[in-house]
Assembly symmetry: C2
Homo-oligomer: 276 residues x 2
């Protein structure tokens, strides 16, 4: 592997949910202050704002808007709910376009009342319904495979292979994959599937954090890079060998870290980023 | 699929950990009372007992001793720890032989301080070191693939494919696989890998419980069969089509269910078993 060490922050992006208690304005100021160059915006941070002006403000802070998070949640046993999901995803496209975000990350969804196969079919159908509108607005859609522990309600797409399969079945240059080390690190096929993803032009995003031991909560106990057991440099090497040259997006949900001073937490993110 | 409905309790086995607060003597009496025919014994329930006499007592209650749980935990960054694991697994073979258990379930282990590949190599090495002693004592070893959420510390074997690969690499009729729906239900390759496992004579055990939504604890929030989203009848059909005709082993870890009256819980196990 030809891993290049992290030398600067030019590819560091942070998800606004990572510094959960900060407004998007506070996040932008602080990210700029420490030299972060990218921001991925969770939709709740846009509430009550003029979205286009918010996008301009982020760029004035020297931040690339990397993605809008999150669309998806397509499957349901209820056709009414599935239609609501389509409507919500169309609205997400509007928001991404207004913000100037080139991409929406899709947490695809799952309904425990039906099989994963049915949920996956509904995911593909949902993406295909939203896709023309996304293309019209210049917004890409990134399927994020989620860890199998989220297969009941959050995503029926649980491996890079499944995400690749779906992106290739849809076959649009506006549909690809967001690879997150937290969800994928355990997968023995990960290297091959990352290579395949890059080869097909589908590797749209790369998310980082760490898996700590013990993990005490299924949702909100992720670690800072280096705190856990994920070989982040190894996976980053695969991703870069597959042709990816976008941002390394820090996405950490952690009750433990959210309870700390967020400026100190941000310093730790930067420090640990150099170990990736 | 040619699923045969559950008609009686002749293939119902319960793991002693399921009715956690009961001693093995209480478990045996109660299991017999409701018509359970098999028991899988967690090693801590043998502490302070004459193991051979305990095995006889279980059989007098009309219970087949299906397996001893658990061996494994082979990997470690420390060679001393790895040697300790071998010693412990040899002792487990002694216990299984004394109890009259034909099989030990292996929770293979993982060490977050090293890669999953290294942990898997140490697992295979550990099994191969224990195997001659197991063969001498007529005890089989069942590799249990664990859910990927346990890949950090509990098992570097996380799919049926990996368990099949390892069992086939070892190539002994005394090494096979224990398939647990809780760990495997999400896997899109599950049907094929169960077929492969049966075809190669490696399908040694079948464990059941359910995945509930939301799951609030990584370890101890499993559900009764039917409480969750796992298609247990569907997976049972695959297992039986693959030639398995052993016990359906109920293995539930649940703080919620452990806090209830264990006789009522046992009644619910029997009731829900008919839905499998």
């Amino acid at each position: 592997m030809s891993l290049k060490p992290i030398k600067d922050l030019s590819k560091l992006c942070i998800h606004t949910i990572t510094t959960k208690s900060w407004s998007i304005e506070e996040a932008a100021e602080n990210y700029e202050r420490v030299g972060v160059k990218g921001i991925s915006v969770w939709r709740q941070y846009l509430e009550g704002r003029n979205i286009a002006e918010t996008g301009d403000r982020l760029r004035k802070h020297g931040l690339d808007v990397v993605s809008l998070v999150r669309g998806g949640f397509f499957p349901s046993v209820s056709s009414g709910q599935r239609q609501k999901a389509i409507t919500d995803n169309l609205r997400a496209v509007d928001e991404a376009a207004a913000l100037g975000a080139p991409m929406i990350v899709l947490v695809c969804g799952a309904d425990p009342g039906q099989s994963l196969e049915v949920s996956r079919a509904q995911i593909q159908e949902g993406i295909e319904k939203v896709l023309p509108y996304a293309i019209d607005h210049g917004v890409k859609l990134a399927i994020e495979p989620l860890h199998p522990m989220y297969a009941d309600t959050r995503s029926a797409v649980n491996t890079m292979k499944q995400a690749n399969d779906m992106a290739e079945a849809i076959g649009s240059d506006h549909v690809g994959v967001a690879a997150d080390v937290y969800h994928l690190w355990w997968d023995p096929d990960l290297k091959n599937e990352i290579q395949r993803c890059g080869r097909n032009g589908n590797l749209f995003a790369f998310h980082i954090c760490d898996w700590i031991s013990p993990t005490v909560d299924l949702l909100n106990d992720r670690g800072l890079m280096g705190e856990g057991c994920i070989d982040i440099p190894g996976i980053r090497a695969w991703v870069e060998e597959a042709g990816f040259d976008g941002f390394n997006e820090v996405e950490i949900f952690s009750d433990r870290l959210w309870a700390t001073d967020q400026r100190e937490f941000l310093d730790k993110i930067v420090e640990s980023y150099y170990q990736c």
